[in-house]
Symmetry: C2
Subunit: 429 residues, 2 copies
Amino acid sequence: MKAYKALTKEELVQLKGELEKAYADVKGKGLKLDMSRGKPAATQLDMTMDIMDVFDSSSELKTEGGMDCRNYGQVDGIPEAKKLMGDMIGVPAENVIVCGNASLTIMYDTISRSMTHGVLGSTPWCKLDKVKFLCPVPGYDRHFGITEHFGIEMINIPMTSDGPDMDMVEKYVSEDPAVKGIWCVPKYSNPQGVTYSDETVKRFAALKPAAEDFRIFWDNAYAVHHLYEEEQDSLLEILSECKKAGNPDMVYEFCSTSKVSFAGSGIAAVASSEKNLEWFRKSMTIQTIGYDKINQLRHVKYFKNAQGVAAHMKKHADLLRPKFEAVLNVLEEELGGLEIGSWIKPRGGYFVCFEAMEGCAAQIIEKCKEAGVILTKAGAPYPYGKDPKDSVIRIAPSFPTPEEMAQATDLFVLCVKLVSVQKLLEACA
Amino acid sequence: MKAYKALTKEELVQLKGELEKAYADVKGKGLKLDMSRGKPAATQLDMTMDIMDVFDSSSELKTEGGMDCRNYGQVDGIPEAKKLMGDMIGVPAENVIVCGNASLTIMYDTISRSMTHGVLGSTPWCKLDKVKFLCPVPGYDRHFGITEHFGIEMINIPMTSDGPDMDMVEKYVSEDPAVKGIWCVPKYSNPQGVTYSDETVKRFAALKPAAEDFRIFWDNAYAVHHLYEEEQDSLLEILSECKKAGNPDMVYEFCSTSKVSFAGSGIAAVASSEKNLEWFRKSMTIQTIGYDKINQLRHVKYFKNAQGVAAHMKKHADLLRPKFEAVLNVLEEELGGLEIGSWIKPRGGYFVCFEAMEGCAAQIIEKCKEAGVILTKAGAPYPYGKDPKDSVIRIAPSFPTPEEMAQATDLFVLCVKLVSVQKLLEACA
């Protein structure tokens, strides 16, 4: 295929006419597809339905230690759930607190607590003139939503194929005491699918923060969410790296079974140093008498251990892979060589990230919407919803079927072409 | 029985000797009982075990409207759970948000949100020099724990048999703009079992707060927790009263099924005006993608409606009543007429509140503990754990068996007598 920028004005005008006709045809089909959120499909959720058989009215809802899971108590989670979640991310059970159904809530509560009570006795952030967070971009919109909600200033850090630009991270963290945290999705990152390299993790662990209450918010959301059995990314375990580097308290790690069991009814956990967890417990003891321990026990009985989780995730992968490949194939076939966009083939996670020509993303998304395909809002992967180059588009293949994904991606590439041609023609004018 | 204060010094000395001997005997028995927390007994939790049969792997986990409860979404709860919880407290479903497993967490989050974001756009409380809460006493220690945790100054308001002293409440609320809230357990109050009179509720609804962001925290924890079928307290519905009085936004009402289904795995809700709920949702949308909807649906399928809840609570009452009566009978038989303590016979809720002679509570609790019976810590029902008269003791009969309760109360009355005699002798000296 010939790159669009190598086309003459006349060729572009002709192409534009053809694309407009094709777009009008697709529009007539009345598509109605949603690729906006990383939601599991019903068929994927069906794979966990056996978990509903784990307990019945004759079950003894007790932990191995004899605790009655039906009653109040055990604010930081049952021991066996700590072990299960710890094993999923390679962290000892004693460094884990298991909470309710969403790691997002733990992250929100962690920021909220830092605002009102500080971090290990530091000045509460709400008493400071300025609090800043580093935000590797593109990133996860709900992370940025939390920091924005609390009036925390967000600073974009570009992502590379090894993770965030660590030169920039080191500079900000070591020089500016107002920088209190950084949002990371270190494995199969949202939305690019990038896994941080060992060197990146080591540089994170070795940070020398200007602020004593600086913390890495390590959202290991896709720890076990591989797409291919043979080509799995691996991630250095950050807690032990931080410990080795003399920064044992510098990281909070989050994980959940939201995309392992049920998106709305999983269990979530935070892992950190004993000192940090003790600080968490001080507030948690005021906030709750205990999270839902029956659901914690249900997950333990169902998955049994990390091997059980891995076996389950293989089934998910078999379902998800064709959806991802449907997208990637169409992208490759239709856009390969045109030089009007780029993308990374992810080995896990929930997204394909498409980078369009500068200034094109919002229009592409709008065109897709007009023809019935909903994509994540333009700018969503950036703080304040502002993509400075207006070029990044997050595609979430998990919810539709592979056939629907192929259909939706056909429309998508058509819109990419159309908007790109218009852009190039504008440049000619 | 002759009142202790009518005894001569010699009679008191002799009595003291007898009581000390009896105490030494009981101590030798090696009792080990816990009456400290309002925890349901295992037999009570067993009554809800059928809820574990509501779903199995073949269930369709959908709402009537077709929403898949397994997936993300519906941040404020499924419609049928809103209706169930609303019916329990006499509030329309549209005024209800259903959350996770604990109303305590909703209350904590509500205060936390007010600290960081204010109330309907008011100045965040963390930016104010002083925030105060009114605390009817004796009250619930976990309420006071929340306000203490956030550095909110707590002001004691004495309870009467009709509810809090409303003259004081009106004065504080209308005169001091730093007073931002009041903790209430309006029905079968913790720990006294008092239900607010209609006049009290109306006076609450008609408050004229100096602070625009003053709110009543109406913890209707025992809305359906009657002990007797024939003698049930009833409580005026506060939301509609506030609306009638022109204060539609002044109250947040909380409730849960913690003491209906499972203490650790129930569902909890908050009810308020549409304006307040909209404000809640603004933060909730950032904090979570949705609470555990499967557990919400499980509760709806199990209880069906408010009648189902009421029928279930009748079974609880049959189990709890003998425990309460065991306590009340011993108190009456052993302490009636001695004038060394008083108590109210509750018609619902989870506690019996004993008022000892001034300066005796801590010692009575200590003596009980020495002989193997754990009571709620002295001072717990007061802000900062400080009972100004050192006289209130909260007894929680729900966890032990009736026989154990009788045994424990035997020890309790013995300790009351012993400490009271000592006190009276000190007064003679």
